[in-house]
Amino acid sequence: MLAFTIRRVGQSILVLLVTGFVAFSMFTYVGDPIDNMLGQERTQADIERLRDQLGLDQPFFVQYWNFLKEAAQGNFGLSYRQGRPVGEILVERLPATLELAFVSGLMALIGGIGLGIFTAIRKSGALSSSIMALSLIGVSLPTFLIGVLLIYIFAVELGWLPSFGRGQVVDLGFWTTGFLTVSGLKALILPAITLGLYQMTLIMRLVRTEMLEVLRTDYIRFARARGLRERAINFRHALKNTLVPVITVTGLQLGSIIAFAIITETVFQWPGVGLLFINAIQFVDIPVMAAYLMMISVMFVGINLIVDLLYFAIDPRLRVDRSAAKGH
């Protein structure tokens, strides 16, 4: 188990290095940040000086190496646009994104697993058929369209909820939260639904398929033949077996909630890291982009690691068998 964890962490670091390399090499093609940073009245000398200052005249590998060296110490350089340390900007923006991702992730998990179980158990009911039909919308409509539709209905027509921003936030010193004010909570609803709907329908359909599969197995038949209650069969015997494959997909989905937040944050002008990234691209703010991509890959890799470890917790067959006295 320990050896497994160490090996996985080692693999994770390798993955991070490669992602960083690929991301960094793409930035060379995004454009020249110098254009944006200096105004119209620039001279060739200004350009040369700034280029030298930022180290942009150095070969690509040297730039990457310097980036890694600094990043390992938690230093992502200065933003070209804001002139402030990138780490500071990210930390400032992160709470907004994490709160949004947390709420939509929770919604996707609870709603997805709950509805998945319901539609599997009542597989021929009218209600579950309608849920299944509606879920197709969730799977097939693009995120930004859902966002715009929600804004149109609830913000423009009904005027119940704000269409952009985070509302009133409370600064806790290390964290700014929208959970503590009414306007903050109201502002959270539409973006959270937009971001979580796709994941929710995906998890729901997955749970339903897996659950139907499990309900057909011999051990469920045997549980039934032993006269166990339906509730015990569905929730004790079937659900646990359903969750094994569901965890993988769900884990990856939670990672992509943070990544997909870029679109939702743009639609709702949500002041999180996704919006920061979009703005950074427009300005060719390489340090911000690099730091953002590294952060996302760290999250993905971290979630993957947790998912792998969760398998051990749920499935006894994977655990190291110490009392391995095999029967005969």
Partner: protein, 326 residues
């Protein structure tokens, strides 16, 4: 014979389909007394498992019992539904499935699965349920129960798992056990152990056992009486010794002849020509007549015979009455 524990009379199962109604079980009757093993034998698709599932009320819809009765100690249970039949399953009637590798939930320890079943049916405390779970495992010959009760199914071998399955089926002390091909998935050497175990438990606890198998050898070794099924119907019913000595129905004789026997020293295994007719396409008259070597005009044209034509023994117009040459 004492009053039967399980009595099945004229049991018929129907499956409505696009091309009419199929009858995978048609007018099947038998009794099983306490401490008796009734072997039910036949080829795949003969309706053996379907009969077992119908008796315990586990038919998958749209299959349903359309006629006949299932009586448990004189009490009809074929119309029982919902919670009432659930309380009979496991508590009064246990079922053992074919494949021990898939019958146990892989994510729960065998102790959990046992105590769960015991707590469901018996009014006992949790420590008492665990104690009984250990006794149940001990009964089926699991060694070092103390150490094994908290193991997961994958930590047992196939034969041991089937013992656990039997313990699970018996832990709430049922009166009837339906064993659906309990040894088919096991090694031959383990088969004999499991059958001996089943036989011992049947005698000790006075169980009425319905042993479903396609293996005539298993029947000859284990059962007291045998019911031979063909195309959803009873072909022959009688004490094992009599049937093995002189099979009245040509189908039974064919089954026996196709059981490998080293003493006969034949190079090729005998087989019954042809295969079982599909349910939607049964021949007129006796369903076995196209494959039968004793076929006569009566077999082709008269309504299909039932057991009464041979004094309750074989559903055949021209039963064999002397030992066939082998």
């Amino acid at each position: 014979m004492t009053d039967p524990v399980l009595s099945v009379q004229g049991l018929t199962v129907e499956i409505p389909g696009r091309r009419g109604i199929l009858r995978p079980v048609d007018d099947v009757s038998f009794d099983i007394a306490a401490g008796e093993i009734l072997g039910v034998v036949g080829e795949s698709g003969a309706g053996k498992s379907m009969t077992g599932n119908a008796v315990i009320g586990l038919l998958d819809p749209p299959a349903r019992i359309s006629a006949g009765q299932v009586m448990l100690k004189g009490e009809p249970i074929h119309t029982t539904k919902g919670d009432a039949i659930r309380r009979i399953r496991g508590k009064r009637m246990g079922m053992i499935f074919q494949d021990p590798l898939t019958s146990l939930n892989p994510l729960l320890t065998i102790g959990d699965q046992l105590t769960e079943t015991i707590l469901q049916h018996l009014d006992v405390s949790e420590p008492e349920a665990r104690r009984r779970a250990m006794t149940a495992l001990d009964d089926v010959g699991i060694p070092a129960v103390e150490d094994r009760i908290d193991s997961y199914p994958h930590q047992f071998s196939g034969g041991m798992r089937q013992r656990v399955v039997i313990a699970l089926a018996l832990c709430a002390e049922p009166e009837v056990v339906i064993a659906d091909e309990p040894t088919t998935a096991l090694d031959v050497s383990v088969q004999a152990q499991v059958l001996a175990l089943l036989k011992r438990l049947c005698r000790e606890k006075g169980l009425a056992v319905m042993l479903i198998t396609h293996d005539m050898g298993v029947i000859a070794e284990t059962a007291d009486r045998v019911a031979v099924m063909y195309a959803g119907r009873m072909a022959e019913l009688g004490p094992v010794r009599d049937v093995v000595t002189v099979a009245h129905h040509p189908y039974t004789a064919g089954l026996m002849a196709s059981t490998p026997d080293a003493s006969r020293g034949e190079a090729r295994l005998r087989q019954i020509p042809g295969s079982m007719p599909r349910l939607g396409n049964l021949p007129a008259g006796c369903p076995f007549h196209p494959r039968c070597d004793r076929v006569g005009e009566k077999c082709r044209h008269d309504p299909r015979p039932d057991l009464s034509v041979d004094g309750g023994r074989a559903a055949c117009w021209f039963p064999l009455t002397e030992k066939a040459e082998t």
